[in-house]
């Protein structure tokens, strides 16, 4: 029986080659798209899953509400927090502090030297809490002694040639020596916190500049805690009020508006978009993941709907066959099995083809996302259990309904061919499915248009700071001492227009803190600190709104005066800012007083996703980390870079040069958006294509059934255009109906998405009308060809079928 079923199924598929091919193409493209998205989603969800204590690990997050910047969540905390939590909460069984090592520019071993990005201070408890596997060295000792360093296998290989050779060797951090205490296994790249070298926090604690870190007033460390049980989460969160009262609010000169909460480490990667000051390796977006899950589901659904649609339409032709079989005694069960065998064969073929497609597309996807996805039948459940489940679900969904529909017909009814009443019934169902597909397509086109405009808007928006033709070169901790030489030497090149010292190319340093207005009110304002010289604002095209820039002819400007932005002036309610004074903890001058000499126009020093916060700039050379270099716009980039490298080697011998292109660097802020958008466009196109394919197949079949009606109309004098128009009109009505359903939903969802941006576009009529037009155009071209062909056929041929 089984063999016969397969045989019949195969023959039936071969006899209707055209529709079998449409089904096969549609299903395999749909499944391939589904698999690709599933891999992306899998990757996004895999972050930190390797941690054995994941369900009990939490990051401490602060909610600050200081005047100036308003409420903000930050993931850096105070130095004593980890120990205090362990002492005060019995549920906290372990705690660890991490802090990036900022003040080391270069690590050397013999003649090898590198800039290290993933270098952290860490407490010894990191080993146990983060499952750090020690390959060489004593796990109890590796993070205990000051001035030692735990290196990854990768780093050991880089500096010493092998992991074994690393132990006991000495690395020079700038000019300070660190002994290698151990070698750890490389961290998986799916870690939100990724490190290649760890230095005991104890090392930092003896340094004078870390004195402040020991109190409760400064935030610079990331604190993670391990709880005895996930259920203790609420107890700790509720206990923070008393905890803060005891340790923080009771003391002078610390935070006044502060709350704390625990964030599960399992949520750090995907759900930290609202948190500032994160030292994370990578950041995902739960929202984007959800969108992709929905899209993959829709694509699969569209592919199945196509199959069902075509199968039902074909059932007109097959009803006689089914009737005959029933007359000959076939049972419902046997017929059901036959139909499902057919869809199972198609599904199986489609699954195999989809794997080929995935294999074909993966390299592209990997290079777009910077990932390393591959088809893995053995260890990735998506490719063993997942495929089996897909196979069963698609076979059943696609085979069951058409079978069910045909089988509930009475044998006589089926023999006569399906009657007009039931025919109208399937017509309605087909229409519902076509509308469904168009609702999805129109919705997706709307989304693509809106997101495209938003991405372009952000890309082209005037930030108020101009990165065009700007290069940034860092010179490390003491480089400022040679700033004058750097400027003089670089400006010898006629293609270099200006050079300015700064804390970073965006003008601000990473830190944020309070300033106090120097009057009786002593108003406190929370601001971003920035450190730049007299040439910075002009070099970067940042305009002055009031007063003046720093003046190179006034040596008294250095360390004495400051410039603020409009946001700061506004936050303080100042009509005129010039001549006002701040008390400024970061001031280099011992009096701590600094005078406002100018107000620059607000510019976005970070991405457009965040609002512009109040900021204050001082001309404090010892806080400079590098220079921005403005080049002539038509200059040969390679030549200039070579020139800078040469000069750098002269001025800072032995120090590697890293020249950053400011435009590219800042695009990084949006690269994730851009990548997600590109993926989104691809998958939308696939779903559109699938919809078209389904529509084409369905139209072909419906027209086959209409053959007679078309023939009669022609006999009665209907002209080709009249009949074509009649055939198309019905579809246009369906498309318009789909538009009426899709647009309000799409509008609402897109508004929701756009509201996440600080600077956003508005949805306009173009966004709403174009999807309808595109859908009409697509259905038109799909149908017109088929319809015209049918309408143009010879009525005598057509009527012969009867």
């Amino acid at each position: 029986m089984f063999v016969i079923n397969i045989k019949i199924a195969l023959r039936s598929l071969i006899r209707q080659k055209f529709y079998s091919l449409i089904n096969l193409a549609g299903l395999s493209a749909g499944i391939a798209a589904f698999l690709l998205i599933a891999m992306y989603v899998q990757h996004e969800l895999s972050f930190d899953r390797h941690l054995s204590k994941l369900d009990r690990l939490y990051r401490v997050v602060e909610i600050q509400n200081e005047p100036g910047v308003g409420e903000q969540h930050v993931a850096i905390t105070m130095g004593p927090l980890a120990k205090a939590m362990k002492d005060d909460f019995p549920q906290v069984i372990n705690a660890v502090r991490f802090m990036p090592v900022f003040n080391v520019s270069l690590i050397k071993y013999n003649d090898k030297s590198f800039n290290e990005q993933y270098l952290f201070y860490a407490d010894p408890s990191a080993i146990e809490m983060f499952d750090i596997e020690i390959v060489h060295g004593n796990p109890a000792q590796v993070l205990a002694e000051p001035r030692t360093v735990l290196v990854s296998e990768k780093s050991a290989l880089k500096y010493f040639g092998s992991a074994e050779a690393a132990i006991g060797k000495t690395l020079l951090f700038d000019n300070t020596s660190f002994r290698v205490s151990g070698v750890m296994k490389d961290q998986p790249e799916t870690s939100h916190l990724y490190f290649e070298m760890l230095v005991p926090v104890a090392t930092a604690e003896v340094l004078p500049e870390f004195e402040r870190m020991k109190g409760w007033g400064s935030n610079s460390l990331i604190t993670y805690v391990q709880l005895d049980d996930p259920s203790s989460f609420d107890i700790i969160n509720q206990g923070f009020d008393d905890f803060l009262e005891k340790h923080v609010f009771s003391q002078k000169d610390t935070w006044q508006y502060l709350e704390m909460y625990l964030q599960p480490v399992s949520k750090v990667y995907l759900k930290s978009g609202h948190i500032k000051f994160q030292n994370v390796y990578a950041m995902g977006d739960a929202n984007m993941v959800n969108i992709f899950v929905v899209i993959s589901g829709l694509i699969l659904l569209i592919a199945c709907v196509n199959y069902i649609n075509i199968a039902i339409a074909r059932s007109f032709k097959r009803s006689r066959e089914v009737g005959m079989r029933k007359v000959l005694g076939a049972g419902r069960y046997g017929l059901m099995v036959q139909f499902i065998s057919e869809s199972a064969i198609i599904t199986l073929a489609a699954l195999i083809m989809s794997l080929g497609l995935v294999e074909l597309v993966l390299p592209e996807l990997n290079s777009l996302l910077g990932t390393n996805f591959r088809i893995d039948f053995l260890s990735n459940p998506l490719y063993n259990l997942g495929l089996v489940i897909l196979f069963i679900i698609i076979s059943l969904i696609s085979g069951y309904y058409p079978a069910f529909y045909l089988l509930h017909l009475q044998p006589i009814q089926a023999l006569k061919g399906i009657s007009s009443d039931s025919g109208r019934g399937t017509g309605t169902l087909s229409s519902v499915l076509v509308v469904f597909q168009f609702v999805i397509s129109i919705g997706l086109i709307l989304a693509v248009l809106v997101i495209r405009d938003q991405v372009n808007f952000i890309k082209n928006k005037d930030l108020g700071i101009h990165y065009q033709d700007i290069l940034y070169v860092g010179f490390g901790d003491k480089g400022y001492e040679k700033l004058k030489v750097v400027k003089t030497e670089l400006l010898k090149n006629p293609n270099i227009k200006s050079v300015a010292g700064c804390s970073f190319m965006n003008g601000v340093s990473g830190s944020q803190g309070p300033v106090f207005v120097d009057d009786t009110s002593n108003t406190k304002l929370y601001v971003r600190y920035g450190f730049v010289d007299e040439d910075f604002f002009e070099t970067m095209g940042i305009e002055i709104a009031e007063g003046r820039y720093f003046d190179g002819d006034l040596p008294s400007d250095v360390n004495r005066v400051n410039i603020i932005n409009q946001a700061a002036a506004k936050a303080l309610g100042w009509e005129v800012a010039e001549g006002k004074f701040f008390m400024y903890p970061e001031a280099a001058d011992s009096s701590g007083k600094t005078e406002v000499v100018g107000v620059v126009k607000d510019y976005n020093y970070y991405s457009l996703r965040s609002q512009i916060e109040p900021a204050i700039w001082g001309w404090q050379p010892e806080r400079f980390e590098g220079v921005v270099i403005k080049t002539a716009s038509k200059a040969n980039a390679e030549k200039i870079k070579h020139f800078i490298e040469e000069k750098w080697n002269d001025i800072f011998p032995g120090q590697p040069v890293q020249i950053i292109d400011a435009v590219n660097y800042n695009l990084k802020n949006y690269r994730k958006d851009q990548n997600s958008f590109t993926l989104f466009v691809y998958f939308t196109l696939i779903s559109l294509l699938l919809s078209c394919l389904g529509l084409f197949g369905l139209t072909s079949l419906i027209l086959e059934q209409k053959t007679k009606s078309i023939g009669i109309r022609k006999v009665l004098g209907g002209e080709v255009w009249q009949i074509t128009f009649m055939l198309i009109r019905n579809y246009l009505i369906l498309v318009l109906l789909a538009g009426v359903i899709a647009l309000p939903i799409g509008y609402y969802l897109m508004q929701f998405q756009l509201n996440k941006f600080a600077y956003r576009i508005n949805i306009n009529a173009f966004h709403l009308l174009l999807p309808i037009l595109i859908a009409i155009l697509i259905s038109f071209t799909t149908i017109v060809f088929k319809a015209y062909k049918s309408a143009n056929s010879n009525p005598a041929d057509v009527l012969k079928y009867e």
């Binding site: 009657s419 007009s420 006999v715 009665l716 209907g718 002209e719 080709v720 005598a796 009527l799």
Partner: protein, 233 residues
């Protein structure tokens, strides 16, 4: 009205060449009622399709209302058809999605008449065929006889000069069959030319002339008196 000279129709597939009509010549005058008879596959329906401008002959000349139409394009034929010819088929060929009224109205729509003109004509015809009470029904809700009356109504609603009937009683019992034949005969009496393909000697008796086809050729043209046809009324 109709002058066929050496009409041939050859169907070709990749392997086989079938001659459905072989140099058929005849003339049919205005107001005649002609039956075409012959066994299955003799070319009756092919001839009727050509006469009805549903198909072009492979060879020969065909003068319809004085015009040589054998080389007409589909567009020209469509225009000719809708203005002059009505069709009645064995299986009725009503459009199932349209109700009785809409089916009968369709030829008038294609003639570009206004809605009010159409209503007047359709209602008059439905009344004449005594199916006015069924005008809201769909074809499959009607009996075969009723369906064929709708088909005849549709064929005559535009007052064509010629009605072509392809075995109009083939799917009907004898009572309903007679009903339809009487309808055709009365139309003929009021001046409409009728050409009917039939297997039934009984039906052929209604005609004034019988053309017998065999293997694509005319083997016999049998002219009867008009009296026999009118006797059956």
């Amino acid at each position: 009205m109709i002058n066929a000279i050496n009409l041939s129709k050859i169907f070709r597939t990749d392997e086989v060449e079938t001659t459905a009509l072989n140099k058929v010549s005849f003339t049919i005058n205005r107001g005649e009622f002609v039956a075409i008879m012959g066994p299955s596959g003799c070319g009756k329906s092919t001839l009727l399709n050509i006469l009805g401008l549903l198909d072009n002959p492979s060879d020969g000349e065909y003068f319809f209302l004085g015009k040589e139409v054998s080389k007409f394009t589909e567009k020209q034929r469509a225009t000719m058809r809708k203005n002059n010819i009505g069709f009645v088929f064995q299986n009725f060929n009503l459009i199932e999605e349209l109700n009785v009224y809409e089916n009968v109205e369709l030829p008038l729509v294609y003639l570009g008449m206004t809605a009010s003109e159409r209503r007047e004509k359709v209602e008059a015809t439905l009344g004449q065929m005594q199916i006015m009470h069924r005008r809201k029904h769909f074809p499959l809700q009607l009996s075969g006889g009723q369906q064929q009356r709708v088909a005849v109504a549709r064929a005559v609603v535009a007052n064509p000069h010629l009605i072509l009937a392809d075995e109009p009683t083939g799917n009907l019992d004898s009572a309903h069959g007679d009903e339809v034949m009487n309808l055709l005969a009365s139309l003929n009496q009021s001046g409409t030319t009728i050409i009917m393909v039939t297997h039934s000697q009984h039906d052929a008796e209604y005609a004034q002339r019988i053309i017998r086809l065999f293997d694509g050729q005319i083997i016999n043209e049998n002219i009867k008196t008009g009296r026999e046809a009118s006797n059956s009324l």
